[in-house]
């Protein structure tokens, strides 16, 4: 018999925040990449590499902070290979992104083999004076680890960067019309390469959050499509930072809710519940595309070569 009263709303909101954070980190990074006109479909591969590297470094150094740094660096390095291929060797972005995912999946299970079943040190929950002690809200919103707040701060920072700084304007110009940006003297390839590195680092942090906080363990293929959902969220968000956050929390919500319903023994087939995050992703994509509000950067996915 289903017992919904076993679901504690305070814990529910708190766990939604935890479950949304990895997707949010990956999605906000990918959004910047796409804003610069590059489509990197390798988010899943970069995320899982970040997950395994972060886990391995955290276990060996007993410092989760070091794990996060290493994860960001490793995934940025992986992203660099994508950048070199697509920006200098002008390879097809869709195919290269898929290749990146396949490489990342192989690399991660190779690195991760000895770490299976181990426990890692995890991030401490912050105890914010006053705020954490508030009734209800304190435990719901203000008793998380640093990365939860970092991810939200990153959304604000990206928003401010794109909207209010000159560099952000240039990045958007490169994404909208690389030929015009090039004619104005901007280094299209370098700007895109930097965006790709940023996207890689963010995906790495997201992956490390999965293996160090959310789960916290290393298992092969543990991202289970989180990177692809992050890609879908960027489309859902119409390339706007605020909506990326909303999207990530929505999917975090669906994930947590279905797990809670499974635990509560809801009268819905388990398979349907497990598949629900993916089905909701499809549904949302359909709604967004049916509305026709695409707002995709005009040069998204198009290769740039200065001679042409």
């Amino acid at each position: 018999m289903m017992d919904l009263s076993s679901i504690n709303p305070i814990l529910l909101v708190a766990s939604i925040m935890v479950s949304a954070t990895p997707i949010l980190l990956a999605a906000i990074g990918e959004m910047v990449v796409e804003k610069s006109g590059v489509l990197n479909l390798g988010v899943e591969g970069m995320m899982i590499t970040g997950a395994v590297v972060g886990f391995a470094v955290a276990v060996n150094s007993t410092s989760p902070a070091l794990g996060f740094v290493a994860a960001a660096l490793a995934s940025a390095l992986l992203a660099l290979s994508f950048g070199l291929l697509t920006q200098f060797l002008l390879s097809n972005q869709v195919a290269t992104g898929l290749g990146l995912t396949l490489v990342g999946l192989g690399l991660s299970s190779l690195i991760g083999k000895p770490y299976e079943g181990m426990k890692s040190p995890t991030l401490p929950k912050l105890d914010i004076p006053l705020l954490s002690d508030l009734p209800v809200v304190g435990r719901m919103l203000f008793s998380h680890d640093l990365m939860v707040y970092f991810s939200l701060a990153l959304v604000v920072a990206v928003w401010a960067f794109l909207k209010h700084t000159r560099a952000g304007l240039i990045l958007r110009a490169v994404g909208e019309s690389h030929d015009s940006a090039h004619a104005l003297g901007y280094k299209v390839v370098m700007i895109r390469l930097m965006a790709i590195l940023f996207g890689g680092a963010c995906a790495g942090l997201g992956g490390a959050y999965l293996s160090l906080v959310r789960v916290p363990q290393w298992t092969e293929g543990m991202t289970a499509g989180a990177g692809w959902i992050a890609l879908a969220i960027v489309v859902f968000a119409s390339w706007r930072p605020g909506r990326v956050a909303i999207g990530a929390y929505l999917f975090g919500g669906v994930t947590v809710l279905q797990l809670n319903l499974q635990a509560a023994g809801a009268a819905v087939p388990v398979a349907l519940l497990s598949a629900s995050p993916y089905l909701v992703t499809i549904l949302v994509l359909v709604i967004i595309s049916a509305r026709g509000a695409h707002a995709a950067p005009a040069s998204l996915g198009r290769p740039f070569h200065a001679s042409s």
Binding site: L89, L90, V94, V103, L110, E220, G225, A271, S307
Partner: protein, 361 residues
């Protein structure tokens, strides 16, 4: 100063040369990787590429495996390549492969224990339909709403995997299996068993269909109007529309075809080498087939060769795991690297390398 100059036409020579160079480069870098993992690189490369075919001790056992692994890879990759040619990115072949296996197996099991010769053909049709239907979801969503087919087809892989888990512990579970997950074993049911057509060659019906698909795709792409329209849609979408090609029709055909072929591959696998519907049936063929399609230059003959080569790395990888203790994941990485190097080398197909100062036009 090195710079790239766009070729007016992609180079024919480099089109054929890049896959070979990519393989050599992957062997080289893979060798370094294996050395890092503590294996002798020369021995590792020999174990992967040479021993499965020519080692006196194993070849008798591993050679038939070549066709067993290459069959599904080629069948799926042929379907994918036709879509890729039209700029339609079905990357959810793994899901269509799983759904084909489930639908085909279910259609067969409905008639258990009949020994009619019609059972297997019915299962093939049901498998193809299952894969087709699963691919129609992204196809219809794309044509009706313009939804991105990459993301939808990929999300459906995860959905298919949960369905697989559900049916192998529920709907299709062997009623005589003492509660163990997994369906009846098709190897013990002659009417539905996809056995070797010639004993110990690995040549089962899936391999036959793979060869038929290669020929069919070749004819379609080089001799048929539809094939021309598919290529036109990929290379010049605007020109295609002006000449009256209906893009929605191309999307439905390309996704439907690749789904049906992937579904058939799944059915041949479940009734043959795998033997039953089980939770771990999905083996990643649908993803590796993407590499096969690119490595074969989206060309049917090329895919045939690439499929055989990729099958070799699977078998050689298993052998290297057994003989040299190399981790299984290193082969997955090896295959991924192959695609990466191929894409990198492709720059020479489309560009000319110029050394020296740029001339003022």
């Amino acid at each position: 100063m090195i710079r790239l100059e766009k070729r007016p036409q992609p180079s024919q020579l480099w089109t054929y040369l890049t896959p070979v160079l990519a393989v050599l480069l992957t062997m080289l870098v893979g060798g370094v990787l294996f050395a890092f993992l503590g294996a002798n690189p020369v021995e590792a490369i020999r174990t992967i590429f040479w021993d499965p075919l020519f080692n006196a001790q194993f070849a008798g056992f591993t050679r038939p495996q070549l066709l067993v692994k290459a069959g599904p890879l080629i069948l799926i990759a042929i379907g994918l390549s036709i879509g890729f040619r039209a700029g339609i990115w079905n990357i959810g072949a793994e899901g269509q492969y799983i759904m084909g296996a489930i639908c085909g197996a279910a259609a067969g099991l409905a008639f258990y224990p009949s020994e009619s010769f019609l059972i297997f053909p019915i299962m093939i049709v049901a498998g193809a339909l299952g894969g087709w239907a699963w691919a129609m979801i992204p196809a219809i969503l794309k044509t009706k709403f313009g939804t991105n087919e990459i993301l939808v087809s990929l999300m459906l892989v995860y959905v298919a995997e949960t369905i697989l888990g559900s049916v192998s512990t529920g709907l299709l579970r062997n009623p005589e299996g003492r509660g163990f997950p997994g369906s009846r074993n098709f190897k013990q049911w002659d009417a539905a068993h996809n056995s070797d057509l010639i004993a110990n060659t690995g040549m089962h019906w899936g391999v036959v269909f793979a060869f038929i698909a290669v020929i069919g795709a070749y004819v379609l792409l080089t001799r048929h109007m539809l094939g021309f329209n598919i290529r036109l849609t990929g290379e010049a979408p605007r020109a295609a529309r002006f000449s009256g090609v209906n893009p929605a029709r191309i999307i439905l055909i390309c996704l439907g075809l690749s789904g049906a072929l992937a579904g058939m591959a799944g059915l041949f696998e479940v009734t043959g080498p795998a033997g039953q519907v089980s939770i771990d049936f999905g083996s990643g063929y649908g993803f590796t087939a993407i590499i096969v399609a690119f490595l074969g230059r989206l060309n049917p003959i090329g895919i045939l060769l690439a499929g055989l080569l990729m099958a070799l790395t699977y078998i050689g990888g298993e052998l290297a795991q057994l003989m040299l203790g190399l981790p299984g994941a290193s082969i997955q990485l090896f295959q991924g690297m192959l695609l990466f190097f191929l894409l990198a080398m492709d720059v020479f197909t489309n560009f000319r390398l110029r050394i020296g100062k740029r001339e003022v036009a």
